[in-house]
Amino acid sequence: MAGSGDMAVEHGGEDRRDFLKILFGATAAVGGAAIVWSFGSALEPGESAKDGAVFDVDLSPIEANSGISLRWRGKPVFIRHLTAGQVSAVEATPMKDLIDPVAVKDRLKPGHSQYAVVVGVCPHRGCVPVGNKPTDPRGPYDGWLCPCHGAAFDAVGRVRRGPAQQNLDIPPYRFISDTLIRLG
């Protein structure tokens, strides 16, 4: 930083001046970073938006062999109460018949195998499959059927017929009690 006029300045004074400049610059930078951080933090979803991100669902009203649909982070989530027969039927399916092979136990929570929880968005083009309402067709595999391009899913949401190539997503959730899950 030394210009021709600074030659006469003794070395110590110049060091002190540089130090003060750096100190000032660093302090100003901290302030600038705090401003940027607070304005950036204000772009996060607000509390009401976050409310929809994590919440509890009571499963006790769901009758066996029926399901409910709800909205979680703007996406449809299907919860179905499976009968013992439906569980054994999906477990009997050989792995080689699956397009996207995943064991049934990896798609259900241990000890709560009567409840299937899936994200109701077809992995093919993003349509919402039907099969949750009593009046809906469930497709050939007793699960869900995508009305757009005909993809069919089994009772735990594994794809059995294309064009979809992946199973239905599973949202993050855990059981708090036998009939209460926390989504998110």
Partner: protein, 398 residues
């Protein structure tokens, strides 16, 4: 301060886009008179306040719902639910107070030191126009807040616009997007606020360009011709920095301890049908509110407010004196200070209900305002004794 850059060859970026060179030539090395006082830093503060208002305004725009019922609710929710939402809201709200504080002081600086002289008449007209546009944006912003008072203020403003001869009715219907304040009004006022808000930055830049082209204003009010009386602008870095720190400090004090300062009491009413006991606009509009009330009729009020702004802009021609600065014409300087007091009293009286002596105070201060511009200014500047003006600046500060 730092001349080292000009000695070295420019880097890749600098050679293609010489920003540093432009900064040096037009800002830090730009010659300015050596006698500028603290208040000359206020131009930078106007830019700072405008920057704060622009950024916080964009952030509020993420949440603002421009409908009659959504306006107040959306912003109220934003301040409660979003991280630092309250801070961004108050930066915008109190930033307005800071901006107008700085702008009012700058205007009186111009009046006192005759900054409209020495070929700076156009600069002055742009500054007055900029002030008018600030007022318009401020009004729209206030009217955007929803609630009973904001709605009432829109009705009153529409009546003022309707009082303009010939075009008035049409303009007022354009303004309200209807015949009364209705569902189409809120989006229009919001858009007006945002569009003029951008425009005002352009006007401010135009004023800056015109000011740089003219002879620089200074406390001695003389056209500084001697290069020895000029210093590079960077010599004032300390003054600008301390002005900025004081500005930011006051700003922080207001946000922390008095965020509603400058807003009329009873702003956030829950009942849209009731108006506070003392309806009044924010403080920076109070003087004009007083002029409008002194006008007796709606048309008279419009006339007085517009006339006051036009007379302010006509100062370069109303001022008949040989010297410009209040330093060398004490009689006129006294009258300028009296005018400042007159404006403050008018503003205070305009916030009061029309009972007791307040209407009389409004009338007297309004009459004095016009007497000052129409009679006092030409006569006193022509006739009152003036001190001899030095040919060069009297006292170097930088």
């Amino acid at each position: 301060m730092d001349n080292s850059r000009s000695d070295t060859t420019p880097g890749w970026f600098e050679a293609r886009l010489p920003l540093c060179a432009a900064w040096h030539r037009h800002w830090s090395e730009h010659p300015v008179p050596a006698n500028l006082t603290f208040v000359w830093s206020f131009g930078v503060l106007v830019a700072v306040a405008l920057g704060v208002l622009a950024v916080s305004g964009i952030w509020l725009g993420f949440a603002y719902v421009p409908t009659t019922h959504g306006a107040a609710a959306s912003i109220e929710q934003y301040t409660r639910e979003v991280n630092f939402g309250w801070l961004i809201h108050d930066l915008h709200l109190d930033g307005t107070t800071m901006l107008f504080g700085v702008v009012y002081i700058e205007l009186f600086r111009g009046l006192y030191y005759g900054s409209y002289r020495n070929g700076r008449d156009l600069v002055w007209i742009i500054e007055v126009f900029r002030f008018f546009v600030f007022l318009a944006v401020g009004f729209c912003g206030f009217a955007m807040t929803g609630g009973a008072l904001a709605q009432a203020s829109l009705t009153v403003m529409a009546a003022h616009i309707a009082a303009i001869p010939i075009f008035g009715d049409g303009l007022s219907q354009w303004f309200l997007a209807g015949f009364v304040v209705g569902p189409a009004t809120a989006p229009r006022i919001a858009m007006l606020h945002e569009a003029i808000g951008v425009l005002v930055i352009l006007i401010a830049l135009l004023g800056y360009a015109a000011s740089r082209a003219a002879k620089p204003a200074n406390p001695d009010g003389i056209a500084v011709t001697d290069a020895g009386d000029m210093v590079p602008q960077s010599a004032y870095a300390g003054k600008v920095f301390s002005a900025f720190i004081i500005f930011a400090f006051i700003f922080a004090l207001i946000i922390t301890f008095a965020p509603d300062l400058g807003q009329p009491a009873g702003m956030s009413l829950t009942d849209p049908l009731s108006i506070p006991v003392r309806p009044a606009p924010p403080w920076y509009l109070l003087g004009f509110h007083g002029l409008a009330r002194a006008g007796m009729s709606v048309g008279g009020g419009t006339l007085l407010t517009v006339a006051a702004l036009i007379l302010l802009g006509a100062l370069p021609w109303l001022d008949q004196g040989k010297v410009a600065s209040g330093r060398y014409r004490p009689v006129y300087a006294g009258f300028v200070i009296l005018l400042a007091i007159d404006w403050i009293v008018l503003s205070v009286a305009a916030a009061e209900p029309a009972v007791g002596a307040w209407p009389v105070v409004i009338d007297i201060t309004t009459i004095w305002l016009f007497v000052h511009f129409i009679i006092i200014t030409p006569l006193v500047t022509m006739l009152a004794p003036e001190h001899a003006v030095p040919a060069r600046i009297a006292r170097r500060i930088a």
